[in-house]
Amino acid sequence: MSYLQLKCIVNGDLVELDIEPSELLIDVLRDRLNLTGVKKGCKKGECGACTIIMNGDAVNSCLVPAARAQGAVIETIEGISKTGRLHPLQQCFIENGAIQCGYCTPGMIMSAKALLDKNPHPTKQEIREALAGNLCRCTGYVKIEKAVEQAAKIIFEITEGRGTSK
């Protein structure tokens, strides 16, 4: 078996690993780095539970060969609350009741974060487009949409320095 040396940044830390060419990013994250917040729902890129952010884009980590993460900057759900403080998306998901079983939640939040990082004022339609690949069977998406809208407002207030996260 030939091995590749994978070097990438995961949640701010430099990671160096020997990987097999056939390994998928989802398995490296879950099994090697113990980042089990990356959820496995279908392994075919159909449910979005394994969504992470790679070089700024939301991707299904079950479709990404680990080798493709060479030199990449990766964020998972475990890395987005800084200094013990929840990310506004996490806070808004909790406060709006947007979480039920919680299995889709990490992927849903990462897709929403990738959207808000690029587009701080998304329309309802843009939110729906960004989350269309993340399936949820519990919530009917109503409170998820509301949580993302509210988080966008809070992030805007923080970045504009006109207030703080509540």
């Binding site: 159909e46 299995y103 069977r137």
Partner: protein, 756 residues
């Protein structure tokens, strides 16, 4: 009087921070030392005998630690439902872990435990099976015929697992007295739960033979009792627990999660090592329970003024390869749908039929949504024939509190009338009769449906439940219950119930659910019963603990305990000169006198009907047949609401499952007996783009049998969705489809048929 403290407050879920940060642990996230990985070999044929099976090559593969088949596994026959059903339900034991006959594509043949999932998968390809292929049947009407291929030996007729007949009054007489009679048949599809976490289990066997299983089962005690039966162990030597989180359930995990638990145990026993068996999404689709498909006929008789005189419902349900919860499901289909309207003469007849398809069992609503769709479409057909408004016809006939009905418990509360009127107002019902003028080849329609459901599992199942409540030495409270929180929010709502019952802050209460070692028996989370049943158990335990506290304080104060009361965490005496004690002071005092306040509470063996009225506005594209739900109004009476945000979330989620059931979701079989839909890609479950505007209307009642007045909610909102949408589509296009899902092809065919 309802206490005012924490009941009715939308506190955030107790566990949501863990879920939002990715730290929540689900079954397949766990790693045990020395753990092996399991994989299952499944039948490629819908019906076959295993003539021979050779596992030697698989066993020889490096890394393989065990291979199990019917040859080296228990032959105990079981049914995942059999340990919980009341005797009158006539359960059928018809399953083994691995049999010599396979009865659907996906049926289990063998399993492997290996040092990696990849090696286990490779080993499956090395197992050699010789089959004798048997004739197969996929449709229940075909399967009932005397010459159809036989799946099991049935005493009720070929492939008929159960026959059920529920009469009230004289239905023949009722139709004779009717001035208008309508009759219509409907076809309903297979729906899949699609909970986001696939089925999985980890089993560990200790040196003394005690078994521990982590799985997302909704019913740990039921799973424990079944495992004890299958493996011939005392139930006390089996522990089943959630890890603790469950990635959704919707009925798919009542009893076992597929067959993951018994197969994982078997592999762990053979290897002496912990084994994780995790299904992939395809296995979840084809080899775990589905909603029952089938055929439902409704006959309604009424006087000219709309007063109902007779109702006959006949259901032929396809239970697939094994009966599982089918006998209970068909009974619930009948009783719930015969109990929406005040009809003096009622007859329900049900046939539960085996076919060579995936086993159907419990799914949100438990038979009720199938029957409700047929009943509520029939009510609209009757209204049209009578020249009455559908809302008016329903208001004239709905069950009122303490009306006679076929259920053994009373209807003590109903706000259905309010739900219908508020819903009709919100949707703009008066627009329903406006002329249908297409705009950009799209036409709109409005429809409604109403229904009822349950708050507990009786009279169909054994329904007692227990809660253990231990007041800690610092006055905080630990509650353990055998129900599970699969995402519906029970742990939070029950925390509120315990806090209210004892008058302590929610922050001081912890509710531990889903572990058979820490809780006395519970039927688990199903039948919309979790809050109702476990809530009653907790209140009962709290009452006992409060009495212990009052008795203890009577000694401290030197008065009779009847002179004392507990309110807001303070024990006080009628005589103000005696002073008062804070809850934590009492507990500390008791601790120093070698006393802890502990109790086990029991629920009442009661049940109560929640009520639902749903209204849909749809837009039908006359060129493509596509139906879009524009707006949905869900009006609910679930008694007193403990946590409004959680209840809204349950309703919104169930409405969207109902939208999927109505418009897009189905599993169909090809002529080889293969499931044409075995992935999300093919199944068309609604995404965020399919979510209509959903308005939730809550009309509270105070149910005397419920915890602080609460009734069931979890399944309710799935019940009338398909009927409301079907009636809206009929209103839009002026024709009825009578088959679900109302996908583009079917709607377009109906439009073209009408234009001819």
């Amino acid at each position: 009087m309802i206490p005012e403290n924490i009941i009715g407050k939308s506190i955030s879920r107790v566990e949501s921070a863990e879920k939002a940060t990715g730290t929540a642990v689900f079954t397949a996230d766990m790693k045990l030392p020395n753990m092996l990985f399991g994989k299952v070999l499944r039948s490629p044929y819908p019906h076959a005998k295993i003539v021979s099976i050779d596992t030697s090559k698989a066993e020889a593969l490096p890394g393989v630690k065990a291979v199990v088949t019917y040859k080296n596994s228990p032959s105990v026959i079981f049914n995942t439902a059999a340990r919980t059903a009341q005797q009158k339900i006539n359960q059928v034991d018809d399953e083994v872990i691995f049999g010599k006959v396979v009865r659907y594509v996906g049926d289990e043949i063998a399993a492997v435990a290996a040092t990696s999932e990849e090696i286990a998968a490779e080993a499956l390809t090395l197992i050699e099976v010789n089959y004798e292929i048997l004739p197969a049947v996929f449709d229940p009407l075909e399967a009932m015929k005397p010459d159809a291929p036989q799946l099991h030996d049935c005493k009720n007729g070929n492939n008929i697992a159960t026959l059920i007949k529920l009469p009230m009054g004289d239905v023949e007489q009722g139709f004779a007295e009717s001035e208008t009679v309508i009759e219509q048949s409907f076809k309903v599809p297979v729906q899949k739960h699609c909970q986001l976490e696939n089925h999985a289990a980890i089993a560990e066997v200790s040196h003394n033979g005690r078994i521990t299983v982590w799985s997302p089962t909704q019913t740990p005690h039921t799973a424990k009792n079944l495992l004890a039966k299958i493996f011939g162990l005392p139930a006390s030597k089996v522990r089943v627990l959630n890890p603790p989180y469950i990635g959704g359930g919707f009925g798919a995990r009542i009893g076992f999660c597929g067959k993951t638990e018994p197969i994982a145990v078997l592999l762990a026993q053979k290897t002496g090592r912990p084994v994780l068996l995790s299904y992939d999404r395809k296995e979840d689709f084809i080899a775990s329970d589905t909603r029952h498909s089938g055929y439902i006929t409704v006959k309604l008789g009424a006087k000219k003024d709309g007063q109902l005189k007779a109702l006959y419902i006949n259901a032929v349900l396809n239970t697939g390869a094994y009966a599982s919860y089918g006998p209970d499901v068909i009974a619930v289909l009948g009783t719930t749908n015969c109990s929406v309207y005040r009809v003096p003469n009622v007859l329900f007849e049900g046939s539960l039929v085996y076919t060579n398809t995936t086993t159907a069992a419990a799914m949100r609503g438990f038979g009720n949504p199938q029957g409700n769709y047929a009943l509520e479409c029939s009510m609209d057909i009757l209204a049209e024939k009578l020249g009455l408004d559908p809302v008016e016809l329903r208001l004239k006939n709905i069950i009122k509190p303490f009306d006679k009905w076929m259920l053994p418990y009373p209807c003590a509360t109903s706000a259905l009338e309010d739900c219908i009127q508020l819903g009709a107002k919100s949707i703009g019902w008066e627009r329903r009769n406006e002329p249908k003028v297409p705009v950009n080849h799209k036409v709109r329609g409005i429809g409604m449906a109403c229904g009822t459901h349950v708050s507990n599992a009786g009279p169909w199942a054994i329904q007692y439940d227990n809660a253990y409540l231990a007041v800690q030495q610092d006055g905080s409270v630990l509650v353990t219950v055998g129900i599970t929180d699969m995402g519906q929010g029970s742990a939070t709502a029950l925390t509120q119930v315990a806090a209210e019952a004892l008058g302590v802050p929610v922050e001081k209460v912890h509710v531990l659910a889903g572990d058979t070692d820490t809780s006395p028996h519970s039927l688990g989370s199903n039948a919309s019963r979790t809050l109702y049943s476990a809530g009653l158990s907790i209140i009962n335990a709290a009452d006992k603990v409060k009495q212990q506290i009052l008795d203890f304080c009577a000694g401290e104060f030197g008065v009779d305990s009847s002179e004392l009361s507990i309110k807001n965490g303070i024990v006080s005496c009628k005589d103000p000169n005696k002073g008062q004690l804070k809850f934590e002071e009492v507990c500390d005092l008791a601790n120093h006198k070698d006393l802890q306040f502990v109790a086990v509470g029991r629920n009442k063996l009661s049940n109560a009907p929640p009520w639902i009225a749903h209204f849909a506005e749809v837009e039908v594209d006359l060129e493509t047949g596509e139906v879009e739900v524009l707006r949905f109004v869900a009006a609910h009476d679930s008694g007193k609401i403990i946590n409004p945000t959680i209840v809204e979330g349950q309703i919104e989620g169930a409405v969207l499952q109902g939208v999927g059931y109505a418009l897009s979701e189905q599993i169909v079989y090809n002529d080889k007996g293969q499931q044409a839909q075995d992935s999300f890609h093919e199944y068309y479950m609604p995404s965020i783009k399919d979510t209509p505007e959903i308005e939730t209307i809550i009309v509270e009642t105070e149910e005397p049998s419920g915890p602080f007045g609460a009734k069931g909610v979890g399944e309710c909102a799935q019940v009338p969705v398909a009927g409301a949408i079907a009636n809206a589509v009929a209103n839009a296009i002026g024709d009825r489809i009578n088959e679900l899902p109302m996908n583009k092809e079917r709607v377009l065919a109906a439009i073209m048929q009408k234009e001819k």
